[in-house]
């Protein structure tokens, strides 16, 4: 009984320690949560613009992951530390291009169909 209490106390103190000193895994968890919020937004929302914003959220979660691993590699010295940052620059470039094209499509769609709800856009369905 006492032993169990001490084990439990030890587990709580290590948890507290990891809260006080967040490491790589905390960053990975935060980025996974952001990614999952983005996926949920893409799957459940009806508004095309909000779906685009959720995609931005997903890309941003990937960026956070890249940067966290970049810092980890910098600290351990095992591998190329700056490759993650370079990848993040390219992801931001692709996200900007995707947003420009996607919003152009939204404008063209709204001009022709007067709607941006994804379940009303069924031109290519049969």
């Amino acid at each position: 009984m006492l032993l169990m209490f001490f084990q439990e106390a030890g587990r709580v103190s290590t948890a507290l320690e990891s809260v006080k000193h967040p490491d790589l895994s905390k960053f990975l968890v935060i980025s996974a949560i952001l990614f999952i919020i983005g996926i949920a937004g893409v799957l459940t929302r009806r508004n095309l613009l909000v779906i685009f914003m959720s995609i931005e959220l997903i890309l941003n979660a990937a960026n956070l992951n890249f940067i966290a691993f970049s810092r980890y590699l910098q600290d351990t010295g095992r591998g190329d530390a700056l490759a993650g940052q370079v990848f993040t620059v390219f992801i931001i470039v692709v996200a900007a291009a995707e947003a420009a094209i996607g919003l152009g499509i939204v404008i063209a769609l709204y001009r022709n169909r007067e709607t941006i709800w994804v379940d009303d856009i069924d031109l290519m369905k049969w």
Binding site: I30, I39, L43, R46, S54, V86, A95, G104
Partner: protein
């Protein structure tokens, strides 16, 4: 990488802010609110980038995402205003059955990632690298001390941006060129998509033979509208 002291406080503040703002982005009824919450989420993630020592990426994130992409989003939201969703006449989420199935999928993904994949993978990584907090912080301290001090003497001037730029033009020079072509294609594509038929007819860079059927159809349309 192990944060400590005020760094960990800021880590928790900004990560919780990013997650809350992300949730509100997905759940807000008004698309403008959604965009503003996404901006605050992006700024919080930029703060996490600063904590991770990637100041250049944080600056690019704020300049490109918040200053460029989100302003574009706000413009488009205001061009295509959808009243029904905002006023509560239409549901913001899709049909209940599909929504519940996708939420089950997402919960499964979240559970496996957060409970199993990340702890196991990180445990194996720690086992492989065997770094201690003291080692990392002392290495970082000595690295900091080697940097020149800033003008106020309080902080140090990092060479991070210079190193990222070097890397971008040596290791990643071919992808850099490809990215420039991608941006050019995106500019031309979005201009073409946003142009109306009337604007295309008005500009004289299109073959008149190609435009003949199109202009005739618009003429009949306008006649119908008049009649």
């Amino acid at each position: 990488m192990i944060l400590s002291g005020w760094e960990s406080v800021f880590f928790w503040v900004f990560s919780i802010a990013a997650i809350l703002a992300g949730l509100l982005t997905v759940m807000a009824r008004n698309a403008v609110h959604s965009a503003l919450f996404l901006i605050s989420s992006l700024v919080s993630v930029a703060a996490l980038f600063v904590l991770l020592g990637a100041e250049f990426i944080a600056g690019v994130q704020i300049l490109v995402y918040v200053g460029g992409v989100m302003v574009l989003f706000l413009f488009v939201i205001m061009l295509v205003n959808v009243g029904a969703e905002e006023e509560g006449r239409a549901p913001i989420f899709n049909r209940p059955a599909q929504v519940s199935v996708s939420l089950v999928f997402v919960a499964l993904l979240a559970g496996v990632l957060v409970m199993y994949a990340i702890p196991k993978g990180y445990g194996a990584l720690k086992e492989r690298d065997k770094i201690s907090a003291q080692q990392v912080s002392s290495a970082r301290e000595s690295q900091q001390r080697s940097l020149p001090p800033g003008a106020t003497g309080v902080s140090r001037v990092t060479k991070e941006t210079e190193r990222v730029g070097n890397k971008l033009y040596t290791f990643a020079s071919l992808p850099f060129e490809i990215a420039s072509v991608l941006l050019l294609v995106a500019i031309i594509g979005s201009v073409m998509l946003a142009r109306t038929l009337k604007q295309e007819i008005a500009s004289d860079d299109v073959d008149p033979e190609v435009l003949k059927p199109a202009s005739m159809s618009t003429a009949t349309e306008s006649k119908e509208a008049v009649g």
